[in-house]
Subunit: 299 residues, 2 copies
Protein backbone atom coordinates (compact mmCIF):
# COMPACT_ATOMS: atom_id res chain seq x y z
CA UNK A 1 0.00 0.00 0.00
CA UNK A 2 1.18 3.52 -0.69
CA UNK A 3 0.94 6.30 1.87
CA UNK A 4 -2.51 7.46 0.82
CA UNK A 5 -3.99 3.99 1.00
CA UNK A 6 -2.42 3.34 4.40
CA UNK A 7 -3.74 6.66 5.65
CA UNK A 8 -7.20 5.68 4.41
CA UNK A 9 -7.07 2.42 6.36
CA UNK A 10 -5.83 4.08 9.53
CA UNK A 11 -8.39 6.88 9.30
CA UNK A 12 -11.16 4.33 8.90
CA UNK A 13 -9.87 2.43 11.93
CA UNK A 14 -9.86 5.63 14.03
CA UNK A 15 -13.42 6.30 12.91
CA UNK A 16 -14.58 2.83 13.89
CA UNK A 17 -13.02 3.18 17.33
CA UNK A 18 -14.75 6.54 17.74
CA UNK A 19 -18.10 5.10 16.69
CA UNK A 20 -17.81 2.32 19.25
CA UNK A 21 -17.82 4.91 22.03
CA UNK A 22 -20.66 7.07 20.69
CA UNK A 23 -24.04 6.73 22.42
CA UNK A 24 -27.06 4.80 21.20
CA UNK A 25 -29.85 7.20 20.31
CA UNK A 26 -32.57 6.29 22.79
CA UNK A 27 -34.14 7.36 26.07
CA UNK A 28 -35.71 10.64 27.18
CA UNK A 29 -32.43 12.39 26.31
CA UNK A 30 -32.47 11.02 22.73
CA UNK A 31 -32.27 14.42 21.03
CA UNK A 32 -28.94 15.38 22.58
CA UNK A 33 -27.53 11.98 21.65
CA UNK A 34 -28.62 12.47 18.06
CA UNK A 35 -27.09 15.94 17.97
CA UNK A 36 -23.81 14.62 19.40
CA UNK A 37 -23.58 11.81 16.88
CA UNK A 38 -24.58 14.11 14.05
CA UNK A 39 -21.76 16.51 14.76
CA UNK A 40 -19.12 13.82 15.23
CA UNK A 41 -20.12 11.77 12.20
CA UNK A 42 -20.36 14.73 9.80
CA UNK A 43 -16.82 13.95 8.63
CA UNK A 44 -13.35 15.16 9.39
CA UNK A 45 -9.81 13.93 8.83
CA UNK A 46 -9.57 12.11 12.22
CA UNK A 47 -6.05 13.50 12.25
CA UNK A 48 -5.69 13.65 16.04
CA UNK A 49 -6.56 10.03 16.83
CA UNK A 50 -4.36 8.83 13.95
CA UNK A 51 -1.45 10.94 15.24
CA UNK A 52 -2.08 9.54 18.71
CA UNK A 53 -2.01 5.91 17.64
CA UNK A 54 1.09 6.43 15.47
CA UNK A 55 2.88 8.07 18.40
CA UNK A 56 1.86 5.10 20.54
CA UNK A 57 3.35 2.75 17.93
CA UNK A 58 6.53 4.86 17.69
CA UNK A 59 7.24 3.95 21.31
CA UNK A 60 6.28 0.30 20.89
CA UNK A 61 2.83 0.60 22.47
CA UNK A 62 0.62 -2.49 22.47
CA UNK A 63 -2.91 -3.21 23.61
CA UNK A 64 -6.27 -1.49 23.51
CA UNK A 65 -5.92 1.12 26.26
CA UNK A 66 -5.07 3.77 23.64
CA UNK A 67 -8.48 3.38 21.99
CA UNK A 68 -10.66 5.23 24.54
CA UNK A 69 -8.21 8.13 24.33
CA UNK A 70 -8.35 8.20 20.54
CA UNK A 71 -12.14 8.51 20.72
CA UNK A 72 -11.95 11.03 23.59
CA UNK A 73 -9.62 13.41 21.76
CA UNK A 74 -11.77 13.38 18.64
CA UNK A 75 -14.83 14.12 20.80
CA UNK A 76 -13.06 17.11 22.32
CA UNK A 77 -12.07 18.38 18.87
CA UNK A 78 -15.67 18.05 17.71
CA UNK A 79 -17.31 19.64 20.75
CA UNK A 80 -15.10 22.67 20.19
CA UNK A 81 -16.36 22.92 16.60
CA UNK A 82 -20.00 22.59 17.70
CA UNK A 83 -19.63 25.44 20.19
CA UNK A 84 -17.45 27.51 17.82
CA UNK A 85 -20.13 27.41 15.13
CA UNK A 86 -22.88 28.76 17.43
CA UNK A 87 -24.48 32.12 16.56
CA UNK A 88 -23.02 33.54 19.80
CA UNK A 89 -19.54 32.57 18.57
CA UNK A 90 -18.62 32.33 14.84
CA UNK A 91 -22.20 31.99 13.60
CA UNK A 92 -21.34 29.39 10.92
CA UNK A 93 -24.20 27.62 9.17
CA UNK A 94 -22.15 25.06 7.27
CA UNK A 95 -19.14 22.91 8.07
CA UNK A 96 -17.63 20.26 5.79
CA UNK A 97 -20.57 20.83 3.45
CA UNK A 98 -23.18 19.94 6.08
CA UNK A 99 -25.42 22.14 8.18
CA UNK A 100 -23.85 22.87 11.54
CA UNK A 101 -25.32 21.26 14.65
CA UNK A 102 -27.16 24.36 15.85
CA UNK A 103 -28.68 24.84 12.37
CA UNK A 104 -30.21 21.37 12.62
CA UNK A 105 -31.01 21.05 16.35
CA UNK A 106 -31.21 24.66 17.57
CA UNK A 107 -28.82 26.67 19.76
CA UNK A 108 -29.84 25.18 23.09
CA UNK A 109 -29.47 21.59 21.96
CA UNK A 110 -26.13 22.40 20.28
CA UNK A 111 -24.81 23.83 23.56
CA UNK A 112 -25.92 20.65 25.36
CA UNK A 113 -24.48 18.45 22.60
CA UNK A 114 -21.11 20.18 22.96
CA UNK A 115 -21.25 19.78 26.73
CA UNK A 116 -22.27 16.16 26.23
CA UNK A 117 -19.30 15.48 23.95
CA UNK A 118 -16.81 17.18 26.25
CA UNK A 119 -18.07 15.23 29.25
CA UNK A 120 -18.25 11.99 27.26
CA UNK A 121 -14.61 12.52 26.28
CA UNK A 122 -13.50 12.23 29.90
CA UNK A 123 -15.99 9.48 30.62
CA UNK A 124 -14.54 7.56 27.67
CA UNK A 125 -10.90 8.24 28.54
CA UNK A 126 -11.58 6.99 32.08
CA UNK A 127 -12.79 3.66 30.65
CA UNK A 128 -9.17 3.05 29.80
CA UNK A 129 -8.53 2.31 33.48
CA UNK A 130 -10.56 -0.89 33.09
CA UNK A 131 -8.02 -2.05 30.48
CA UNK A 132 -4.95 -1.45 32.65
CA UNK A 133 -3.09 -4.70 33.33
CA UNK A 134 -0.90 -3.42 36.17
CA UNK A 135 -0.06 -0.43 38.37
CA UNK A 136 2.37 0.94 35.81
CA UNK A 137 -0.33 1.15 33.14
CA UNK A 138 -2.71 2.68 35.68
CA UNK A 139 -0.15 5.42 36.27
CA UNK A 140 0.29 6.00 32.53
CA UNK A 141 -3.46 6.37 32.05
CA UNK A 142 -3.63 8.82 34.96
CA UNK A 143 -0.84 10.87 33.32
CA UNK A 144 -2.66 10.72 29.97
CA UNK A 145 -5.86 12.12 31.53
CA UNK A 146 -3.85 14.94 33.08
CA UNK A 147 -2.34 15.79 29.68
CA UNK A 148 -5.75 15.69 28.01
CA UNK A 149 -7.18 18.02 30.63
CA UNK A 150 -4.35 20.54 30.41
CA UNK A 151 -4.13 20.69 26.61
CA UNK A 152 -7.90 20.94 26.13
CA UNK A 153 -8.45 23.53 28.83
CA UNK A 154 -7.86 27.14 29.72
CA UNK A 155 -4.09 26.70 29.39
CA UNK A 156 -4.60 24.95 26.08
CA UNK A 157 -7.38 24.93 23.49
CA UNK A 158 -10.00 26.93 25.41
CA UNK A 159 -7.33 29.53 26.23
CA UNK A 160 -6.54 29.82 22.51
CA UNK A 161 -10.19 30.13 21.56
CA UNK A 162 -10.69 32.90 24.07
CA UNK A 163 -7.69 34.83 22.79
CA UNK A 164 -8.92 34.30 19.23
CA UNK A 165 -12.36 35.74 20.00
CA UNK A 166 -10.76 38.67 21.81
CA UNK A 167 -8.46 39.30 18.84
CA UNK A 168 -11.46 39.55 16.53
CA UNK A 169 -13.29 42.06 18.65
CA UNK A 170 -10.43 43.91 20.29
CA UNK A 171 -7.71 46.33 19.30
CA UNK A 172 -4.48 45.58 17.44
CA UNK A 173 -3.19 42.03 17.63
CA UNK A 174 0.48 41.58 18.46
CA UNK A 175 2.72 38.86 17.04
CA UNK A 176 3.02 37.42 20.55
CA UNK A 177 -0.76 37.16 20.79
CA UNK A 178 -0.96 35.54 17.35
CA UNK A 179 1.55 32.88 18.38
CA UNK A 180 -0.39 32.29 21.61
CA UNK A 181 -3.55 31.67 19.58
CA UNK A 182 -1.83 29.26 17.18
CA UNK A 183 -0.03 27.46 19.98
CA UNK A 184 -3.19 26.94 21.98
CA UNK A 185 -6.03 26.83 19.49
CA UNK A 186 -4.24 24.68 16.92
CA UNK A 187 -1.17 23.02 18.42
CA UNK A 188 -2.50 22.04 21.88
CA UNK A 189 -4.70 19.13 20.76
CA UNK A 190 -1.94 17.88 18.42
CA UNK A 191 0.36 17.96 21.42
CA UNK A 192 -2.24 16.04 23.44
CA UNK A 193 -2.42 13.42 20.68
CA UNK A 194 1.31 12.84 20.41
CA UNK A 195 2.08 13.11 24.13
CA UNK A 196 -0.71 10.74 25.17
CA UNK A 197 0.37 8.22 22.54
CA UNK A 198 3.90 8.34 23.94
CA UNK A 199 2.89 8.25 27.62
CA UNK A 200 0.57 5.27 27.20
CA UNK A 201 3.34 3.37 25.41
CA UNK A 202 5.60 3.93 28.40
CA UNK A 203 7.83 6.70 26.98
CA UNK A 204 10.06 8.46 29.52
CA UNK A 205 9.53 12.04 30.65
CA UNK A 206 12.25 13.39 28.33
CA UNK A 207 10.75 11.58 25.36
CA UNK A 208 7.27 12.92 26.12
CA UNK A 209 8.72 16.43 26.27
CA UNK A 210 10.33 15.92 22.88
CA UNK A 211 6.97 14.78 21.49
CA UNK A 212 5.40 17.93 22.94
CA UNK A 213 8.01 20.00 21.09
CA UNK A 214 7.58 18.10 17.82
CA UNK A 215 3.80 18.46 18.05
CA UNK A 216 4.17 22.19 18.73
CA UNK A 217 6.17 22.54 15.51
CA UNK A 218 3.69 20.47 13.55
CA UNK A 219 0.75 22.48 14.90
CA UNK A 220 2.27 25.87 14.13
CA UNK A 221 3.48 24.74 10.69
CA UNK A 222 0.02 23.34 9.97
CA UNK A 223 -1.53 26.69 10.84
CA UNK A 224 0.92 28.76 8.77
CA UNK A 225 0.32 26.41 5.83
CA UNK A 226 -3.40 27.12 6.27
CA UNK A 227 -2.72 30.85 6.06
CA UNK A 228 -0.51 30.35 2.98
CA UNK A 229 -3.21 28.34 1.20
CA UNK A 230 -5.74 31.08 1.95
CA UNK A 231 -3.58 33.33 -0.25
CA UNK A 232 -2.18 30.98 -2.90
CA UNK A 233 -4.81 28.30 -3.46
CA UNK A 234 -7.97 28.41 -5.52
CA UNK A 235 -11.48 27.98 -4.22
CA UNK A 236 -11.78 24.84 -6.38
CA UNK A 237 -8.83 23.08 -4.81
CA UNK A 238 -9.43 24.29 -1.24
CA UNK A 239 -13.17 23.61 -1.21
CA UNK A 240 -13.83 26.88 0.63
CA UNK A 241 -13.55 30.59 -0.22
CA UNK A 242 -9.95 31.87 -0.44
CA UNK A 243 -8.69 35.29 0.56
CA UNK A 244 -10.95 35.28 3.61
CA UNK A 245 -8.14 36.29 6.00
CA UNK A 246 -7.36 39.45 4.01
CA UNK A 247 -11.06 40.20 3.63
CA UNK A 248 -11.59 39.83 7.39
CA UNK A 249 -8.50 41.91 8.04
CA UNK A 250 -7.11 39.00 10.01
CA UNK A 251 -3.53 39.08 11.21
CA UNK A 252 -1.71 35.94 10.07
CA UNK A 253 1.91 34.88 9.82
CA UNK A 254 1.64 35.55 6.08
CA UNK A 255 0.26 39.07 6.46
CA UNK A 256 2.99 39.81 9.00
CA UNK A 257 6.00 38.35 7.24
CA UNK A 258 5.01 37.67 3.62
CA UNK A 259 4.64 34.44 1.68
CA UNK A 260 8.33 33.67 1.22
CA UNK A 261 9.25 33.86 4.88
CA UNK A 262 6.07 31.95 5.80
CA UNK A 263 7.04 29.11 3.46
CA UNK A 264 10.52 28.99 4.95
CA UNK A 265 9.09 28.89 8.48
CA UNK A 266 6.87 25.94 7.61
CA UNK A 267 9.95 24.20 6.19
CA UNK A 268 12.05 24.97 9.28
CA UNK A 269 9.36 23.88 11.77
CA UNK A 270 8.62 20.65 9.97
CA UNK A 271 12.28 19.71 9.58
CA UNK A 272 12.76 20.21 13.29
CA UNK A 273 9.72 18.06 14.05
CA UNK A 274 10.96 15.33 11.72
CA UNK A 275 14.41 15.33 13.22
CA UNK A 276 12.87 14.85 16.67
CA UNK A 277 10.75 11.96 15.42
CA UNK A 278 13.84 10.40 13.81
CA UNK A 279 15.89 10.77 16.99
CA UNK A 280 14.13 7.98 18.89
CA UNK A 281 15.34 4.41 19.00
CA UNK A 282 12.30 3.07 17.15
CA UNK A 283 11.14 4.63 13.90
CA UNK A 284 7.68 5.16 12.47
CA UNK A 285 7.98 5.98 8.78
CA UNK A 286 4.26 6.35 8.34
CA UNK A 287 4.17 9.01 11.05
CA UNK A 288 7.02 10.87 9.32
CA UNK A 289 5.19 10.74 6.01
CA UNK A 290 2.01 11.92 7.70
CA UNK A 291 3.81 14.96 9.11
CA UNK A 292 5.25 15.78 5.68
CA UNK A 293 1.83 15.38 4.05
CA UNK A 294 0.24 17.79 6.52
CA UNK A 295 2.73 20.48 5.80
CA UNK A 296 3.13 20.10 2.05
CA UNK A 297 -0.62 19.77 1.52
CA UNK A 298 -2.39 21.93 -1.07
CA UNK A 299 -5.77 21.82 0.65
CA UNK B 1 -21.18 24.41 67.97
CA UNK B 2 -24.73 23.74 66.89
CA UNK B 3 -25.63 22.33 63.48
CA UNK B 4 -25.92 25.68 61.75
CA UNK B 5 -22.54 26.87 62.99
CA UNK B 6 -20.87 23.61 62.01
CA UNK B 7 -22.48 23.81 58.58
CA UNK B 8 -21.13 27.34 58.23
CA UNK B 9 -17.60 26.18 59.01
CA UNK B 10 -17.80 23.24 56.63
CA UNK B 11 -19.29 25.36 53.84
CA UNK B 12 -16.49 27.88 54.25
CA UNK B 13 -13.92 25.09 54.12
CA UNK B 14 -15.46 23.73 50.87
CA UNK B 15 -15.35 27.23 49.42
CA UNK B 16 -11.68 27.69 50.29
CA UNK B 17 -10.78 24.37 48.69
CA UNK B 18 -12.70 25.41 45.58
CA UNK B 19 -10.92 28.77 45.43
CA UNK B 20 -7.52 27.10 45.64
CA UNK B 21 -8.24 25.36 42.32
CA UNK B 22 -9.66 28.37 40.47
CA UNK B 23 -7.40 30.05 37.91
CA UNK B 24 -5.42 33.26 38.35
CA UNK B 25 -6.85 35.95 36.11
CA UNK B 26 -3.97 36.67 33.74
CA UNK B 27 -2.68 35.95 30.24
CA UNK B 28 -4.23 36.44 26.81
CA UNK B 29 -7.17 34.28 27.92
CA UNK B 30 -7.82 36.48 30.97
CA UNK B 31 -11.46 37.23 30.11
CA UNK B 32 -12.59 33.62 30.21
CA UNK B 33 -10.79 33.15 33.54
CA UNK B 34 -12.60 36.16 34.97
CA UNK B 35 -15.94 34.86 33.70
CA UNK B 36 -15.29 31.43 35.23
CA UNK B 37 -14.34 32.85 38.61
CA UNK B 38 -17.26 35.27 38.52
CA UNK B 39 -19.78 32.49 38.03
CA UNK B 40 -18.29 30.18 40.65
CA UNK B 41 -17.80 32.87 43.28
CA UNK B 42 -21.29 34.40 42.90
CA UNK B 43 -22.44 32.31 45.86
CA UNK B 44 -24.19 29.02 46.38
CA UNK B 45 -24.68 26.57 49.21
CA UNK B 46 -21.64 24.38 48.29
CA UNK B 47 -23.92 21.51 49.19
CA UNK B 48 -22.30 18.95 46.87
CA UNK B 49 -18.70 19.29 48.11
CA UNK B 50 -19.92 19.29 51.73
CA UNK B 51 -21.96 16.12 51.11
CA UNK B 52 -18.91 14.59 49.44
CA UNK B 53 -16.57 15.28 52.32
CA UNK B 54 -19.09 14.07 54.91
CA UNK B 55 -19.57 10.84 52.97
CA UNK B 56 -15.78 10.48 52.89
CA UNK B 57 -15.70 10.91 56.67
CA UNK B 58 -18.57 8.44 57.14
CA UNK B 59 -16.29 5.73 55.75
CA UNK B 60 -13.26 6.89 57.71
CA UNK B 61 -11.54 8.69 54.84
CA UNK B 62 -8.31 10.55 55.58
CA UNK B 63 -5.97 12.73 53.56
CA UNK B 64 -6.29 15.41 50.92
CA UNK B 65 -7.14 13.41 47.80
CA UNK B 66 -10.84 14.22 48.29
CA UNK B 67 -10.19 17.96 47.88
CA UNK B 68 -9.67 18.11 44.10
CA UNK B 69 -12.93 16.17 43.70
CA UNK B 70 -14.82 18.56 45.99
CA UNK B 71 -13.69 21.48 43.81
CA UNK B 72 -14.34 19.52 40.59
CA UNK B 73 -17.95 18.68 41.47
CA UNK B 74 -18.75 22.27 42.39
CA UNK B 75 -17.22 23.42 39.06
CA UNK B 76 -19.48 21.00 37.20
CA UNK B 77 -22.54 22.22 39.11
CA UNK B 78 -21.62 25.81 38.26
CA UNK B 79 -20.83 25.25 34.58
CA UNK B 80 -24.29 23.72 34.21
CA UNK B 81 -25.84 26.87 35.70
CA UNK B 82 -23.79 29.14 33.41
CA UNK B 83 -24.98 27.26 30.31
CA UNK B 84 -28.54 26.87 31.65
CA UNK B 85 -28.89 30.63 32.08
CA UNK B 86 -27.91 31.41 28.47
CA UNK B 87 -30.50 33.11 26.23
CA UNK B 88 -30.52 29.99 24.05
CA UNK B 89 -31.51 27.94 27.12
CA UNK B 90 -33.48 29.44 30.07
CA UNK B 91 -32.63 33.08 29.29
CA UNK B 92 -32.16 34.07 32.93
CA UNK B 93 -30.63 37.45 33.70
CA UNK B 94 -30.20 37.03 37.46
CA UNK B 95 -29.11 34.20 39.72
CA UNK B 96 -28.63 34.43 43.48
CA UNK B 97 -29.22 38.18 43.17
CA UNK B 98 -26.32 38.72 40.75
CA UNK B 99 -26.30 39.20 37.00
CA UNK B 100 -25.76 35.90 35.21
CA UNK B 101 -22.44 35.26 33.49
CA UNK B 102 -23.72 35.92 29.96
CA UNK B 103 -25.29 39.21 31.12
CA UNK B 104 -21.88 40.40 32.30
CA UNK B 105 -19.51 38.82 29.75
CA UNK B 106 -21.73 38.14 26.72
CA UNK B 107 -23.06 34.85 25.32
CA UNK B 108 -19.88 33.73 23.60
CA UNK B 109 -17.70 34.22 26.64
CA UNK B 110 -20.30 32.52 28.87
CA UNK B 111 -20.27 29.47 26.59
CA UNK B 112 -16.46 29.38 26.81
CA UNK B 113 -16.55 29.94 30.58
CA UNK B 114 -18.89 26.97 30.99
CA UNK B 115 -16.66 24.84 28.78
CA UNK B 116 -13.66 26.07 30.75
CA UNK B 117 -15.25 25.07 34.07
CA UNK B 118 -16.32 21.65 32.82
CA UNK B 119 -12.85 20.93 31.48
CA UNK B 120 -11.18 22.35 34.58
CA UNK B 121 -13.31 20.01 36.69
CA UNK B 122 -11.68 16.97 35.12
CA UNK B 123 -8.27 18.62 35.08
CA UNK B 124 -8.67 19.28 38.80
CA UNK B 125 -10.03 15.82 39.65
CA UNK B 126 -7.05 14.30 37.83
CA UNK B 127 -4.68 16.22 40.12
CA UNK B 128 -5.84 13.84 42.82
CA UNK B 129 -3.63 11.15 41.25
CA UNK B 130 -0.58 13.11 42.40
CA UNK B 131 -1.80 12.67 45.99
CA UNK B 132 -2.23 8.90 45.80
CA UNK B 133 0.07 7.10 48.21
CA UNK B 134 -0.30 3.62 46.75
CA UNK B 135 -1.89 1.53 44.00
CA UNK B 136 -5.07 1.06 45.99
CA UNK B 137 -5.66 4.83 46.23
CA UNK B 138 -4.81 5.15 42.54
CA UNK B 139 -7.59 2.67 41.77
CA UNK B 140 -10.03 4.53 44.02
CA UNK B 141 -9.31 7.81 42.23
CA UNK B 142 -9.78 6.14 38.86
CA UNK B 143 -13.16 4.81 40.03
CA UNK B 144 -14.09 8.28 41.33
CA UNK B 145 -13.36 9.86 37.94
CA UNK B 146 -15.53 7.24 36.27
CA UNK B 147 -18.40 8.03 38.65
CA UNK B 148 -17.99 11.78 38.08
CA UNK B 149 -18.07 11.29 34.31
CA UNK B 150 -21.14 9.08 34.35
CA UNK B 151 -23.22 11.16 36.76
CA UNK B 152 -22.39 14.47 35.06
CA UNK B 153 -22.93 13.21 31.52
CA UNK B 154 -25.59 12.08 29.09
CA UNK B 155 -26.68 9.28 31.43
CA UNK B 156 -26.73 11.74 34.32
CA UNK B 157 -27.06 15.51 34.59
CA UNK B 158 -26.84 16.39 30.88
CA UNK B 159 -29.41 13.69 30.14
CA UNK B 160 -31.73 15.27 32.70
CA UNK B 161 -31.22 18.75 31.31
CA UNK B 162 -32.03 17.55 27.82
CA UNK B 163 -35.23 15.85 28.95
CA UNK B 164 -36.16 19.00 30.90
CA UNK B 165 -35.77 21.23 27.85
CA UNK B 166 -37.76 18.79 25.74
CA UNK B 167 -40.50 18.69 28.38
CA UNK B 168 -40.85 22.48 28.21
CA UNK B 169 -41.17 22.60 24.45
CA UNK B 170 -42.81 19.26 23.75
CA UNK B 171 -46.15 17.61 24.27
CA UNK B 172 -47.56 16.16 27.48
CA UNK B 173 -45.07 15.12 30.13
CA UNK B 174 -45.54 11.70 31.68
CA UNK B 175 -44.81 10.84 35.30
CA UNK B 176 -42.03 8.53 34.09
CA UNK B 177 -40.42 11.45 32.23
CA UNK B 178 -40.76 13.70 35.27
CA UNK B 179 -38.98 11.15 37.44
CA UNK B 180 -36.24 10.80 34.82
CA UNK B 181 -35.68 14.57 34.91
CA UNK B 182 -35.52 14.68 38.73
CA UNK B 183 -33.30 11.63 38.90
CA UNK B 184 -30.82 12.98 36.40
CA UNK B 185 -31.00 16.74 36.64
CA UNK B 186 -31.16 16.92 40.43
CA UNK B 187 -30.13 13.62 41.99
CA UNK B 188 -27.21 12.64 39.75
CA UNK B 189 -24.69 15.17 41.12
CA UNK B 190 -25.76 14.40 44.69
CA UNK B 191 -25.12 10.74 43.88
CA UNK B 192 -21.71 11.69 42.48
CA UNK B 193 -20.91 13.57 45.70
CA UNK B 194 -21.84 10.74 48.07
CA UNK B 195 -20.49 7.90 45.94
CA UNK B 196 -17.13 9.59 45.32
CA UNK B 197 -16.77 10.37 49.02
CA UNK B 198 -17.37 6.71 49.81
CA UNK B 199 -15.15 5.32 47.03
CA UNK B 200 -12.19 7.51 47.95
CA UNK B 201 -12.49 6.43 51.58
CA UNK B 202 -12.21 2.81 50.48
CA UNK B 203 -15.87 1.79 50.82
CA UNK B 204 -16.78 -1.55 49.25
CA UNK B 205 -18.92 -1.94 46.15
CA UNK B 206 -22.06 -2.76 48.13
CA UNK B 207 -21.57 0.26 50.36
CA UNK B 208 -21.10 2.55 47.35
CA UNK B 209 -24.31 1.20 45.86
CA UNK B 210 -26.15 1.95 49.11
CA UNK B 211 -24.78 5.50 49.03
CA UNK B 212 -26.05 5.80 45.45
CA UNK B 213 -29.50 4.73 46.66
CA UNK B 214 -29.46 7.11 49.65
CA UNK B 215 -28.36 9.99 47.40
CA UNK B 216 -31.12 9.18 44.93
CA UNK B 217 -33.68 9.48 47.74
CA UNK B 218 -32.15 12.71 48.98
CA UNK B 219 -32.09 14.20 45.48
CA UNK B 220 -35.71 13.33 44.69
CA UNK B 221 -36.90 14.45 48.14
CA UNK B 222 -34.97 17.71 47.72
CA UNK B 223 -36.71 18.32 44.39
CA UNK B 224 -40.21 17.53 45.67
CA UNK B 225 -39.58 19.85 48.64
CA UNK B 226 -38.65 22.53 46.09
CA UNK B 227 -41.97 22.01 44.33
CA UNK B 228 -43.84 22.10 47.65
CA UNK B 229 -42.20 25.40 48.63
CA UNK B 230 -43.13 26.87 45.26
CA UNK B 231 -46.76 26.42 46.36
CA UNK B 232 -46.66 26.95 50.14
CA UNK B 233 -43.91 29.48 50.79
CA UNK B 234 -43.94 33.24 50.47
CA UNK B 235 -41.75 35.28 48.17
CA UNK B 236 -40.23 36.91 51.26
CA UNK B 237 -39.02 33.66 52.79
CA UNK B 238 -38.05 31.96 49.54
CA UNK B 239 -36.21 34.94 48.08
CA UNK B 240 -37.67 34.28 44.63
CA UNK B 241 -41.12 34.44 43.05
CA UNK B 242 -43.48 31.67 44.21
CA UNK B 243 -46.17 29.94 42.16
CA UNK B 244 -43.90 29.92 39.12
CA UNK B 245 -44.48 26.23 38.41
CA UNK B 246 -48.24 26.71 38.13
CA UNK B 247 -47.76 29.87 36.09
CA UNK B 248 -45.43 28.04 33.71
CA UNK B 249 -47.85 25.12 33.59
CA UNK B 250 -45.04 22.91 34.78
CA UNK B 251 -45.72 19.32 35.74
CA UNK B 252 -44.40 18.64 39.25
CA UNK B 253 -44.91 15.94 41.84
CA UNK B 254 -47.21 18.37 43.65
CA UNK B 255 -49.37 19.15 40.62
CA UNK B 256 -49.62 15.42 39.93
CA UNK B 257 -50.35 14.10 43.41
CA UNK B 258 -51.27 17.09 45.58
CA UNK B 259 -49.51 18.64 48.56
CA UNK B 260 -50.35 15.98 51.12
CA UNK B 261 -49.02 13.05 49.16
CA UNK B 262 -45.96 15.10 48.17
CA UNK B 263 -45.17 15.81 51.81
CA UNK B 264 -45.52 12.13 52.67
CA UNK B 265 -43.24 11.16 49.79
CA UNK B 266 -40.54 13.56 51.03
CA UNK B 267 -40.89 11.97 54.47
CA UNK B 268 -40.69 8.43 53.10
CA UNK B 269 -37.68 9.13 50.85
CA UNK B 270 -35.74 10.91 53.55
CA UNK B 271 -36.43 8.22 56.19
CA UNK B 272 -35.15 5.61 53.78
CA UNK B 273 -32.03 7.67 53.10
CA UNK B 274 -31.42 8.15 56.82
CA UNK B 275 -31.83 4.48 57.59
CA UNK B 276 -29.23 3.67 54.92
CA UNK B 277 -26.82 6.21 56.40
CA UNK B 278 -27.41 4.73 59.87
CA UNK B 279 -26.81 1.18 58.67
CA UNK B 280 -23.05 1.55 58.26
CA UNK B 281 -20.53 0.63 60.92
CA UNK B 282 -19.37 4.20 61.41
CA UNK B 283 -21.82 7.02 61.95
CA UNK B 284 -21.78 10.63 60.82
CA UNK B 285 -24.36 12.57 62.81
CA UNK B 286 -23.63 15.82 61.03
CA UNK B 287 -24.38 14.17 57.66
CA UNK B 288 -27.68 12.88 59.06
CA UNK B 289 -28.60 16.35 60.32
CA UNK B 290 -27.63 17.82 56.97
CA UNK B 291 -29.98 15.45 55.16
CA UNK B 292 -32.82 16.32 57.53
CA UNK B 293 -32.14 20.04 57.12
CA UNK B 294 -32.31 19.76 53.31
CA UNK B 295 -35.67 18.10 53.39
CA UNK B 296 -37.34 20.08 56.17
CA UNK B 297 -36.07 23.38 54.85
CA UNK B 298 -38.46 26.30 54.32
CA UNK B 299 -36.39 28.01 51.60
Amino acid sequence: MNFKETLGVKTKRAEQILMAYLPEERGFQKTVLEAMNYSVMAGGKRLRPVLMEESFLLFGGEGKRIEPFMAALEMIHNYSLVHDDLPAMDNDEYRRGCKTTWKVYGDGMAILAGDGLLNLAYETAALSFDLARNGEELRQIAAAIQILGRKAGIYGMIGGQTADIEAETGAEVTEEQLLFIHENKTAALIQAAMMIGAVLAGAHKGEVELMEKAAYNIGIAFQIQDDILDVTSTEEVLGKPIGSDEKNNKLTYVSLHGLEKAGKEVERLSQEALSILRSFERKNEFLEELVISLITRDK
